[in-house]
């Protein structure tokens, strides 16, 4: 499926879609969106790129194995849950909030880091599965 149009388009689509996925991730707390769907969109962006340019090129672009994102994401989500236990001696998963308003993000809290963890895990899982399957042919 290495058509010129798709290949050219995917080169522009990849950054756009990635930015869009981060946008979806960040707005999740107030409007439809969130880490899960954001992660899926980011994964789709990479898969689209792989379709157009070949898996090897996408992997080269990624630099790291997508699988590495899984432990990072899980660790981040877990730490954001653990943070209240360590920091203020509250139960696991209690929400912690930064008192001031942060530009772009709005209220900055531990839930956001949790969502970023979900985002990373979803990208890692999806890409690992799809890359493994397409490599196994």
């Amino acid at each position: 499926m290495k058509t010129l149009i798709l290949r050219t388009a995917s080169n522009y689509m990849l950054p756009l879609l990635l930015v869009f996925s981060v946008f979806i991730l960040l707005r999740g707390h107030y409007l439809p969106g969130g880490g899960f769907v954001g992660g899926l969109i980011a994964a789709i962006a990479f898969v689209l790129h792989a379709f157009a340019n070949g898996l090897e090129n996408t992997k080269g672009l990624l630099r790291i194995r997508p699988g590495v994102l899984m432990p990072i994401g899980l660790g981040l989500a877990f730490l954001s849950g653990l943070a209240p236990v360590l920091a203020v001696d509250e139960p696991f998963m209690t929400g912690l909030w930064w008192p001031d308003h942060v530009p772009v993000v709005g209220n900055l809290g531990s839930a956001l880091f949790f969502d970023i963890g979900v985002y990373l895990v979803v990208i890692g899982v999806t890409l690992t599965i799809i890359f493994s399957i397409s490599e196994s042919d």
Partner: protein
């Protein structure tokens, strides 16, 4: 006492790290551990014989009623002395018997673990901790039987023994829980006072049956006896220690321990008499047909275990005294015979009775030990065996019913046991020394001293029975709930009827020994009957079960995904459909509350129908996948209309990815071939429509149910107040139920790792095959 129990385990752990230094000459030092424990328990003898019961309690898991409560009374003391005393001799013997063996340290590790477990078993007052130790003895026995792990026969015997004694362990656990439930306590000493209440409870019979199951499997009672001869594949020290002197008596211990709690009914007594009676006679007859010395000893051990169960079943004062004395008698002479067999095997390389003779000329001390053990097993005065046998006859004669039958059975068994003892203890040493054995020499003193010590002890106790009377037997009888002070052991009872029976036994035994010659021919003849033996029946059953389960598995797990899906769907439709439409709350379709369909919905439904129809008739896989994708997107549109943008977005992404996945997978497949004919298509259509209808009905049913909105209201109200978020769905995901999400992403990760490793593993395998080719 906790320390004493833990010592064995600590020895075992210590050897894991320091084992390599203890393989050589230092190995014999490990015998100091059981010796020290023996002396430790010996120090209690005065206190226990004066009626004191020593206890120690350590809380372990109080929430489960599981505590390490240790009690040392007469019964426990006798067993602890046997375990540590014979343990000491066996530990020392092993140092020479397995000298230079590659895994000697491992062997001592298992023995140490066994000793700790066995001590824990006989000291535990808490039924649950007793169960744990009981299982540990089975497990250490498994390792010891399979010690020669390069031999298939050893491994099989080990598994068989574990299967039998392990399933007995399950029964013990079930019985213990039930008993604990009825009694309201797991402490055995507290249960004694509740004996009447337990005997009247509904579960009494079940409790007794479960405990019997545990005792009979462990103590090799008919029809569970067959694992014990197989266990003789273990090195001889193990046979001596576990499968003759101590572990197999755990079942006897259990029965004695529960005599004061459960032993007041006819059911208890009759069952034990019957099972014990059958076992002792059946096993004793078997000794006639064995040519392997250890085989003879194994069956005579089973026979004696049967006799002990039989005596406990009789339940009278005399019978329990006899049982107590017989435990000592048997441990002394049978351990001697086993150790001697080990020496013979070690020095001559054979255990075949028909090949061995005249060995007294090359190993006199061993021959003397054999002679003493044999006359003790025969019950010839002045050995302790005579004492034991007299007591048995007194016990059977003292019974009100069936006294004659029971006595005759006991005499017949004793005649056969005498024969077995003579075959093992005398026959190899008498007659002419064959030429090939002339170079045989005495083993190390570590090997011949232990049997001599045991044999001489048997003689001494026979002459001075007071040595065991007050310190051991009286407290033992006390602890099983009878009057211990009435016991009086003496060798000479005068010329009475019982003495006559003893003479009869001896005469019968001598005749049998001189007239009956064991031979391979006879062994083969009896093995023709093996097909009705319990062992063959059990193995046949397990083989049948295995082939049945493989048949069943092949039927259900046939590797065809379409069959899996059909099975799952049919099962679901039938089960859920049945529960939906049967019973009082049968489901009725109620369309009143449904709203009118809008134009958009009609259009979307039309698109979905068309897409589904396209999937069904599509002639290419890609076409079908695209059709499925359209169905998915149509569902997204429905979500949008019903104002669930989060769901729609997620569903949209998922659908896209699914289509991509399908394309990736399917692109590697060969060209489309229609694999199904019309009939299977109609069948599949039926199954699919069935599921569709069922799910629709469930959806309708859910609408009609009154909805509890408390939870969703809480989330909606508090999303912003508590979690500072306006998107309730996301707030639930990352905050209210964040831990769920954490688990879910962990599951996702595991799934991805699974897919990855499965696919990569297969790739590597293919590469290996290519390399090999």
């Amino acid at each position: 006492m906790l320390a004493a129990v833990l010592t064995g385990f600590l020895l075992s752990i210590f050897l894991v790290f320091a084992g390599k230094y203890f393989k050589g000459k230092l190995a014999v030092l490990s015998a100091l551990v059981p010796l020290g424990l023996f002396l430790y328990f010996l120090s209690f003898i005065n206190r226990v014989s004066s009626g004191e019961i020593i206890t120690q309690s350590v809380e372990w898991v109080p929430a489960l009623g599981l505590n390490l409560d240790f009690t040392l009374d007469g019964l426990s003391l006798l067993f602890t002395l046997l375990i540590t005393g014979i343990g000491f001799l066996v530990f020392a013997y092993t140092a020479a018997y397995l000298k230079g063996h590659e895994y000697l340290d491992r062997f001592y590790g298992y023995l140490g673990m066994f000793m700790g477990a066995m001590l824990g078993l006989v000291l535990s007052d808490n039924l649950l901790s007793m169960f744990l130790f009981w299982e540990l003895t089975s497990i250490s026995s498994f390792f010891l039987i399979g010690f020669n792990n390069s031999s298939e026969a050893s491994r099989k015997s080990a598994v068989l023994a574990l299967a039998v004694t392990g399933s007995g362990g399950f029964l013990l656990l079930a019985g213990a829980l039930l008993l604990g439930n009825v009694a309201g306590t797991y402490s055995i000493s507290e249960m004694v006072a509740l004996g009447d209440m337990i005997a009247q409870s509904e579960s009494y019979i079940l409790i007794v049956v479960l405990l019997f199951g545990a005792a009979f499997t462990k103590s090799a009672q008919f029809p569970f006896h067959f694992w014990l001869p197989g266990a003789m594949k273990a090195p001889t020290p193990v046979s001596t220690y576990l499968h003759s002197a101590t572990m197999v008596k755990a079942g006897i211990y259990l029965l004695l321990r529960f005599t004061p709690v459960l032993g007041s009914t006819e059911f208890w007594n009759t069952t034990l008499i019957i099972v014990g009676g059958i076992t002792m006679f059946y096993a004793a007859v078997h000794t006639l047909f064995r040519t392997d010395l250890k085989g003879v000893l194994a069956y005579s051990t089973i026979s004696v275990l049967g006799l002990l169960v039989f005596l406990i079943g009789l339940g009278t004062q005399y019978a329990l005294v006899a049982a107590g004395v017989y435990i000592v008698v048997h441990a002394l002479y049978k351990a001697t015979l086993f150790l001697i067999t080990g020496i013979i095997d070690h020095e001559t390389g054979t255990r075949d009775v028909t090949a061995l003779s005249g060995l007294r000329k090359v190993m006199m001390p061993v021959a003397i030990a054999g002679l003493l053990a044999a006359i003790s097993s025969a019950g010839i005065p002045p050995t302790v065996g005579f004492l034991g046998k007299e007591l048995v006859y007194e016990a059977t004669l003292g019974m009100a019913d069936w006294a004659v039958v029971l006595t005759v059975l006991a005499i017949a068994t004793n005649i056969l046991v005498l024969y077995a003892g003579f075959v093992a203890g005398i026959k190899p040493f008498t007659g002419k020394l064959p030429e090939k054995f002339e170079k045989v020499h005495m083993p190390s003193y570590l090997m011949w001293l232990p049997p001599v010590i045991l044999a001489v002890l048997g003689l001494l106790i026979g002459i001075y029975p007071a040595v065991i009377e007050a310190p051991l037997i009286k407290p033992l009888v006390d602890s099983v709930g009878l009057e211990g002070q009435a016991v009086h052991l003496k060798l000479w009872h005068g010329f009475n009827f019982v003495l006559g029976l003893s003479a009869l036994t001896l005469a019968g035994g001598f005749l049998l020994y001189f007239l009956w010659k064991p031979s391979e021919k006879k062994e083969n003849a009896i093995s023709k009957l093996d097909f009705i033996a319990p062992k063959s029946l059990l193995l046949g059953f397990s083989a049948g079960f295995r082939s049945f389960s493989s048949m069943w598995t092949n039927f259900l797990q046939n590797g065809l995904l379409r069959n899996y899906v059909t099975t799952i769907v049919l099962f679901l439709v039938v089960l859920v459909g049945y529960s939906l439409f049967s019973g009082e709350n049968a489901f009725h379709i109620n369309t009143e509350s449904l709203s009118e369909m809008t134009f958009y919905e009609v259009v979307i439904m039309g698109v979905m129908f068309m897409a589904v129809a396209f999937v069904v008739v599509a002639r290419s896989r890609l076409g079908a996948v695209v059709g499925m994708g359209i169905v998915g997107y149509a569902i997204c549109l429905l979500f949008v209309i019903y104002s669930a943008p989060d769901l729609a977005m997620t569903q949209f992404s998922i659908d896209t990815l699914t289509v991509i996945l399908f394309v990736l997978v399917l692109s590697g497949l060969p060209k489309y071939i229609a694999k199904s004919n019309l009939i299977t298509r109609i069948r599949d259509a039926g199954v699919s429509i069935g599921l569709g209808v069922l799910v629709s009905l469930i959806a309708l049913a859910v609408i009609n149910e009154p909805v509890n909105k408390e939870v969703s209201d809480f989330y909606a109200e508090n999303a912003y107040i508590l979690a500072k978020g306006k998107n309730v769905v996301n707030v639930i995901l990352v905050d209210f139920r964040g831990t769920d999400t954490l688990m879910e992403i962990a599951v996702l990760t595991i799934a991805a790792l699974g897919v990855y490793s499965l696919l990569k593993l297969r790739l590597d395998k293919d590469e290996n095959i290519e390399k090999e080719n």
